[in-house]
Amino acid sequence: MPRFHTPVSLPSGKQEHAAAATTSAAPHIELRTSKFSKYVDVVFRYSLLLCSISIIAVMALFFYELTSRSKLSIARFGFGFFTGSTWDPVAGDFGAMPFIYGTLLSSLVALVLAVPLAVGVAVFVTELCPRSLRGIISFTVELLAAIPSVIYGLWGIFVLAPLLRKYVEPWLGKNFGWSGLFTGPMYGIGMLAAGIILAIMIIPIIASITREVLVAVPQSQREAVLALGATRWEMVRMAVLRNARVGIMGGIILGLGRAIGETMAVTMLIGNRPEVAKSLFAPGYTMASVIANEFSEATDDLYLSALVEIGLVLLIVTVIVNACARLLVWSITNGHSARNNA
C-alpha cells in the first residue's frame, strides 16, 4: 500500500525538546501540549464545522431567496399559475403550463431513450466485456459527462438537428405518423431533438450508478445461478438485475433530476415556443429554458417574480427527485461501503 509511504511529518523541534526536558514528569508534557494546541484544536474544529454548515446554509438561502422573490407572482396567480397556459409578459398574464409540459415531455423522451442504453452499457461493462476493455469503456462514458452542456447544444444545432430533419424525422413520420407523436412540419429542432440530446447527457449518470450497483451484487449470487445451468442472460436477469433493481431505479431517478433541470442544450434545441403540442416534431419550451431566455430581459416586478417562481418549482422538484434517488442508492451502496471502511 503506497499510502503508507507518505511522509508522516513529526512535530518538529518544539515538542520533542519539551519531552526531553521533562522526561521524568509526565503530567507536565500534557500541560505543555494542551494549553496552546487545545485552543487551536477547538478553533480548527469549529471552522470545519462552519464549512459544513455552509452547505446547509446555501440550501436554506436558496429556498429563502426564491420564495421571497416569487411572492408577488404566488399571491397574484396562486395555483392557477400551474394550469394557465398563456404567457404574456406585456399583459402581465403568466401561466406555466406549457413549460411544465415541455419539461416533463422532454425528460420522458430522454428517459425512454437513455434507460435501456445506460443499463445495457452497465451490464456489458460489468458482466460481459473482457477485463481489458472495462476501464476504457467506463472512462469514455464518464467523458460524456464532462462535456459542457453548451457544447452539446452547439453540436445539436449544427449536427443533430439537420440529421433529424433530413433523415430521421421523415422516416419516423412515414412509419409511425399514425401514432400522432410524429406529425407536422419537420424543423429538426423541437421536442425530439431536445429529448435525444438530454438522453445523451443523462446516460453517463444512469450508467455509472447502475454499474456501481451491479458491482455491489455479491459474486456468489452469480455463481449460484450459473451452477444451476443458467445461460449468461438468465444469470444477469435472475441474479444481477433482480438484486440491483432498487439501485438502478435510484440511478434512473437521478438521471430524471438532471434532465428536468438541464438548461443550455435544451434551450438551444427545443425551439422555445410556449405551446402544448402532442407531436414530438413540434417546438416546445421548458421551465429551465424560459428562465435562461427571459430572465435578464424581465423588466417589471411581476414578470421577474413569475420567472423566479418557475425557478422555485424547479428547485423543489429537483430536491424531491434527488432526495428520493439518494435514499434509494444509499440504501444499497452506502451501507455496504460504510461497513467496509469501519
Binding site: 456489458f124 462535456i147 459542457p148 457544447i151 438468465e234 438541464e262 424547479l314
Partner: protein, 287 residues
Amino acid sequence: MPSVSRPVSLVRRLTNFGFIGLSILAALLVLAPLGAIFGYLVYKGIGSINLAFLTNTPRPVGEDGGGMANAIVGSVMILGMGSILGVPLGIGAGVYMAEFGHGRFVNLVRFTADVLNGIPSIVVGIAVYALVVLPQHHFSALSGGVALGIMMIPTIARTTEEMLLMVPNTIREAALGLGIPQWRATLQVTLRTASKGVITGAMLAFARVAGETAPLLFTAFGNQFWSLKPDQPIAALPIQIFAYAISPFDEWHRQAWAGALILIVLIVVAVAAVRVVTSRGSMANNA
C-alpha cells in the same frame, strides 16, 4: 458429470445471443455520440483557431476576424474566484464529515450536499442573482465566481470525505500517538495521505463548473469588451459560445466551434495536468 452433455435448448441459446448482441449494441450506441462530438469539434474548430482568435476581442457583425481573448481571460478569472470560494469550503466540509462525522448532523450535511449537487445550475444562477447581483445593482464577475464556487462545494465535500474515509485508522492513531495535536494530525497526516484523491476531486469539480453557462447568464452576464474588474460584467467562454451558436451569422458559428474546442481543451488539460502531477508524486513516494 453425465448431465453436461444435455444441450441447452435453442430458445434459451437464442435469447442469450440476443441479449449479448443488444448489450454490445448499447455500448456502441453510447460511445458513438462521444466520437461524433469530439470528431466534429476538432474538425470544425481547429481551422478557426489562430493567433488572432486568441488575442483579439470580438468584432461587430460583418467584420471578419476578432476572437475570444477577453472571454478566455474572463473564464479563467471567474473560475479562479470560484475556486477560491469553493475549494476551501468544500475540503473543510469534507474533512469535518470524515474526521468528526458521527450522528445526525453529519448525515444531514451529507444528504444536503448530495441534493445540492443535483440542483439545476440555472436555479443557482437565479439565487446568486438575488443574493449578489441585486444588492450590487449590476452584473459582475464576482457574482459569477460566487455562483461557480457554490456549485463546487458539494462535489468537493463529498469526494474529500470519501477519500479521507479510505485512510486507515491506524495512521490517525499513529499520528495522535506521537502526541501531535488533532489539527496537525488531520492536516499534515490524514489529509496529506489522501491528498491525491482530494486534489482529483477538486479538479473534477473545477472541470464540471468550467463549462457551466446557465449560472453565468445573469451573474457574469458576458461582455464584448476587455474587462478585468471584478465588479463589472465580464465575458466568459461558455456564454460567448452560446451567444454565437444561436446567432444567424456563419462567421460567428465558426468562432463558436473554435471557442468550444478551446473550452474542451482547457478542461482536459486542467484534468490531465493534475493527473500527471499527482501520479508523479506517488511514484516518487514509492521509489
